[in-house]
């Protein structure tokens, strides 16, 4: 399947469209803020249109993961090809893009969230130009990570996100923004240098024959790295379950765990979320956290299948800690945004639990939860943003009875809240149910213990709802205006998606089924390409 426009594939378009927007934006005179906002909106909207095209053109039956034939919208070109010298083999880095059922959901999510984030940033007070430019650069980095199939390219996009994120938190954030920004930067870089080392080790271990000459070349091609037959005997990562493979797996895992974030690497998250401006919190929770789990599914699992099994139990335990610890911590918060931040940790735990199950239900639950968490948490952060814009406080005890003053707001809020606590009929329920269902088959007791998280989530969500929206109205906020059109515009699409997917999840599940089946097959067969029929 190929879709091209002007000779350039659709994935390149969707990836680099924001960069084009950024360049145009930088040429707009400083005073014309409206033009900047609309340029950013236009280009991210273009991305959404492309995402919709991808959604409809996507072939639901193809597998992907480790098979080139199963990848869709593939673009492959030689980027860097350094001919071999006696002491250093040929170096081949490809510009290799493609999507499968695992990444297509994330591409859709990223396009949507980025577009909404532009509108959530409408009232940025200083340096609009810099802000929008950084946002668009970040956007390219995010999409790029999800569509890259060359590890080198993946790494470049992964790192490209760091700098804009640092500035977005650091310049436009709250009072402790400097601390939060540098903490985020250092944490993530620490993770990514470990990933870099694992990447180099993989590079030296994997060779593929040159189709023309048969000469063996090292490659960063991810698909080649997933095939155990490509590992050179005697190379550092050859074999199964060796010492070095364990080290490489752990290095990759820490790199991804910091992004998720998995306990005990989570401490940057509450700081970053609380200090970041609303739109950036939305992107952070909506998209960036998914990169950690995406990385594990895209890289760690298929490249180290035997270790994915070996570490399934520890991962399940970490998932349990994430779920329960996140929920307990959320319950103790007085700051609205911090509460949502901790609830993210808890919800990402569900993703991990589904992944650890290593069966199709669990995996589907995990990836679906990644998408749903993206939409639901984006809603929650937008909801907090609406309130904060009006009152400049996020103290949960400062409110009360808002349902009377802001009825429309309360209505849309309840969709988000109930979706977050997993009410049947809303999307969050389906993915949580799948995750737990899958995990129950593999880790019975851990799953039972983890369901405690659902109860806790319901508790803190309802308690928050009660404190903020019900009860005696606080006199101080009597005259608060209700939610305005622009804010509704950011929330309604998300609410529609949450409700639609809650009623008919197949809109999304159909995209991922065959790829995830295939992924489970790869992992349980230690890298063999045996697919399990559902």
């Amino acid at each position: 399947m190929e879709l091209q426009f002007l000779g350039i594939g659709i994935l390149s378009w969707i990836t680099f469209l924001p960069i084009v927007g950024m360049v145009l934006l930088l040429m707009i005179p400083k005073t014309n803020e409206n033009a900047m906002k609309w340029t950013a909106a236009l280009f991210t909207f273009g991305q959404v249109v492309l995402a919709v095209v991808i959604y409809f053109a996507f072939n639901r039956g193809m597998t992907g993961i480790n098979s080139l034939e199963g990848m869709q919208f593939v673009e492959k070109a030689t980027w860097i090809d350094i001919k071999s010298v006696p002491w250093f083999g040929r170096i081949l880095i490809e510009y290799f893009l493609g999507v499968d059922g695992l990444s297509v959901t994330m591409v859709l999510l990223t396009a949507l969230i980025s577009f909404l984030a532009v509108f959530a940033s409408w009232n940025i007070e200083k340096a609009m130009k810099g802000y929008m430019a950084m946002l668009l650069l970040l956007d390219t980095g995010m999409i790029g990570v999800f569509v890259s199939l060359d590890f080198f390219l993946f790494y470049v996009f992964w790192e490209v996100m760091l700098l804009p994120m640092y500035f977005l938190i650091g310049i436009w954030g709250g009072p402790r923004r400097e601390y939060a920004a540098i903490k985020f930067f250092l944490y993530t870089l620490f993770g990514s240098v470990l990933m870099l080392l694992a990447m180099i080790a993989l590079y030296f271990s994997v060779t593929i024959p040159d189709p023309m000459t048969g000469e063996k070349i090292h490659t960063f091609n991810m698909l080649a790295m997933m095939n155990p037959a490509n590992f050179e005997p005697g190379s550092i990562l050859a074999g199964l379950g060796t010492y070095w493979r364990h080290l490489a797996y752990i290095a990759l895992f820490i790199g991804f765990a910091i992004k998720v974030p998995i306990f005990p690497f989570h401490t940057w998250l509450p700081d970053a979320h609380v200090e970041a401006p609303t739109a950036i919190s939305v992107i952070l929770a909506g998209v960036l956290l998914k990169m950690g789990t995406y990385g594990i599914l895209r890289i760690s699992y298929p490249m180290f299948p035997e270790l994915a099994q070996w570490y399934a139990l520890p991962l399940a335990i970490l998932a349990f800690i994430n779920i329960v610890y996140g929920a307990l911590a959320a319950m103790a918060q007085k700051d609205f945004k911090k509460l949502i931040a901790y609830s993210s940790i808890s919800h990402m735990g569900v993703v991990l639990l589904g992944m650890a199950a290593l069966n199709t239900q669990g995996m589907m639950g995990a990836v679906f939860q990644m998408f749903n968490h993206g939409t639901i948490t984006a809603m929650l952060f937008l909801i907090v943003g609406v309130l904060y814009d009006r009152t400049h406080t996020r103290d949960l005890d400062a409110f009360g009875g808002l349902a009377i003053t802001m009825p429309k707001y309360t209505g849309i809020m309840s969709v988000g809240f109930f979706a977050a606590l997993g009410l049947p009929g809303l999307s969050g329920f389906i993915s949580e149910a799948f995750s737990f269902l899958g995990a129950f088959q593999t880790f019975r007791y851990i799953t039972i213990a983890s369901t405690l998280g659902i109860v806790l989530t319901a508790a803190y969500m309802l308690w928050t709802l009660q404190r903020v929206f019900l009860g005696q109205p606080n006199e101080k906020w009597a005259g608060l205006p209700d939610i305005n059109g622009r804010e509704l515009f950011t929330l309604v699409p998300l609410a529609v998606i949450v409700i639609t997917l809650g009623i008919y999840p197949s809109f999304m599940l159909d995209l991922m089924t065959s790829s995830l089946n295939h992924l489970v097959g790869i992992v349980v067969s230690n890298g063999g390409a045996v697919a399990i029929v559902p």
Partner: protein
């Protein structure tokens, strides 16, 4: 004999041109007392011409002046690197108010730059211990003077004096080592030393002492820990242009000489001998472990101390110590891949480090300050300069898509190939530490508001052009680095080494 010398001279054109330009610059300074603008132009012209002759030498591999100096791709590479640096430094000097404020002695300044370049050229090609010492001395003496060039500034004289005392000590130790080595092997050229060790064998302990003493000399030149004490003071006290020059070219010359000395002297050169990765002639002495420890100390200390620096020149001084540590990782391997990685790193380092110093100079020109606080709000006062500085600093950290990442990638790759994985891990963690202090500058530029003066800072078009000329390769080589790697791969060929 005469023929031989003539032949040698024809291979010595880059150096000859420099000597000629040097004499012309001094003369012009004496003759045209009213017109001080001539000497700088002579310097620039001389450097361009000599760079042209350097490129003419591509592919040559031969000994000249009866085995004193070699012209080979390895030497040509470093001469090219040093020549480009020197040209950029001369350009910087045109815009440096520090240098331009001393109009009376400006001819002296540019002639010394030429002499310094000459010394470094010789260092890149020297294969005889005596020639090596002479080249080091020429480089050192001129850099002492240049470090103290702005006599009016008290810290400049202090810097010069400190530099000289440390330099004298380390050269003394190095000479002592060389004399022991001569006593052991009876040869002063490094090929003879190799042959002597290979065929006659020498007392290992004595050899160890000799080589450690020689290492002191190299360590001083590249400011490796524990021979780095002069670096921060000299870098802070010297004019920024000279600091930038020393941090790139002088380090490059030191590395060139060190790599050549170790590779030629201690690697089995006999046909069909051991593979070149093995330091066979130093069996029993684990040389690469000593270098590895120096490398770890250098980068860790450089990075950790840089965290506490508030003066930008000092901060960059410690950062350049750390970078010497990274490059030493390539020397640890000393395989072809390791040497190629060092060469790649140097090319990248040239642009990003000179760029960073250039920004420091531009800002100091306008604000008169070099401390980190004076950078507050620079992002709003001069966006172009601040954004360029971000790119240089990110590249120094080693983040893609900048060239600094490619440099690190190749170093780590060389280490992985030679199974020095723990060293790669240390190097990688070090770059995380380095992020912290580079980001401190970013933070002041963009996250903080200007302290008192909020007015925009204007720079001339020419100044911005030079800046952009440094930014472009820093990004371009990060995105497309094939030419860089090909050049480095072609340049690791040393005369007499398989």
């Amino acid at each position: 004999m005469v023929e031989q010398i003539l032949e040698s001279l024809s291979r010595f054109l880059p150096e000859t041109v420099l000597v000629g330009a040097l004499c012309l610059a001094i003369l012009s300074d004496l003759v045209f007392r009213q017109n001080r603008g001539i000497a700088p132009l002579i310097a620039l012209g001389g450097l361009f011409l000599s760079l042209y002759y350097v490129t003419e030498q591509a592919g040559v591999s031969q000994q000249i002046f009866s085995g004193m100096i070699v012209v080979d791709p390895f030497a040509v590479f470093f001469k090219f690197l040093i020549g480009v640096t020197a040209i950029l430094i001369v350009l910087f000097s045109f815009y440096s108010s520090e240098v331009q404020s001393t109009q009376k002695r400006i001819g002296e300044y540019f002639s010394l730059i030429l002499a310094l370049t000459l010394g470094m050229y010789l260092m890149a090609g020297a294969v005889n211990l005596l020639m090596m010492v002479l080249a080091i001395e020429l480089t050192s003496l001129t850099s002492y003077i240049l470090a103290g060039y702005t006599r009016e500034a008290p810290d400049s004289s202090e810097a010069s004096l400190k530099y000289m005392i440390y330099g004298a000590l380390s050269t003394g130790l190095m000479l002592y080592g060389i004399s022991i080595l001569y006593g052991l092997t009876g040869a002063t050229d490094i090929y003879g030393i190799n042959a002597s060790i290979a065929y006659n064998g020498v007392n290992e302990v004595t050899l160890l002492i000799a080589v450690i003493l020689i290492l002191v000399g190299f360590g001083y030149k590249i400011s490796a820990v524990p021979f780095h004490f002069w670096t921060p003071d000299v870098y802070e006290g010297a004019p920024v242009t000279i600091t930038a020059f020393l941090s790139v070219a002088s380090k490059a010359a030191g590395f060139a000489m060190m790599i050549r000395f170790f590779r030629v002297s201690f690697i089995d050169l006999t046909p069909g001998g051991f593979p070149d990765e093995m330091w066979v002639l130093l069996q029993g002495i684990e040389w690469n472990k000593i270098v590895a420890i120096i490398s770890v100390l250098t980068m860790t200390l450089g990075n950790l101390v840089a965290v506490w620096q508030d003066n930008l020149k000092r901060l960059l001084a410690y950062s350049s110590i750390a970078h010497a540590g990274y490059m030493l990782m390539g020397v640890v391997v000393l395989s072809n891949a390791g040497v190629a990685a060092v060469l790649i790193y140097f090319m990248v380092y040239l642009f990003m480090n000179l760029g960073a110093f250039y920004v420091v100079m531009l800002v100091a020109n306008k604000t008169g300050k070099e401390d980190i606080d004076s950078y507050k709000g620079l992002g709003y006062r001069s966006p172009i300069v601040a954004v360029s500085f971000v790119i240089f600093l990110i590249s120094l950290t080693g983040l893609p898509p900048t060239a600094g990442f490619i440099g690190k990638l190749y170093l780590f790759a060389a280490l992985f190939e030679a199974k020095w994985i723990w060293l790669a891990v240390v190097g990688a963690l070090n770059s995380v530490v380095s992020l912290y202090y580079y980001v401190r500058v970013l933070r002041n530029m963009f996250l903080r508001d200007p302290a008192e003066d909020k007015s925009p800072i204007e720079f001339s078009t020419a100044q911005i052009v030079v800046l952009i000329a440094l930014v472009i390769p820093t990004i371009l080589f990060g995105l497309y680095f094939a030419p860089l790697v090909d050049f480095a791969n072609a340049s690791i060929v040393m005369f007499g080494v398989r």
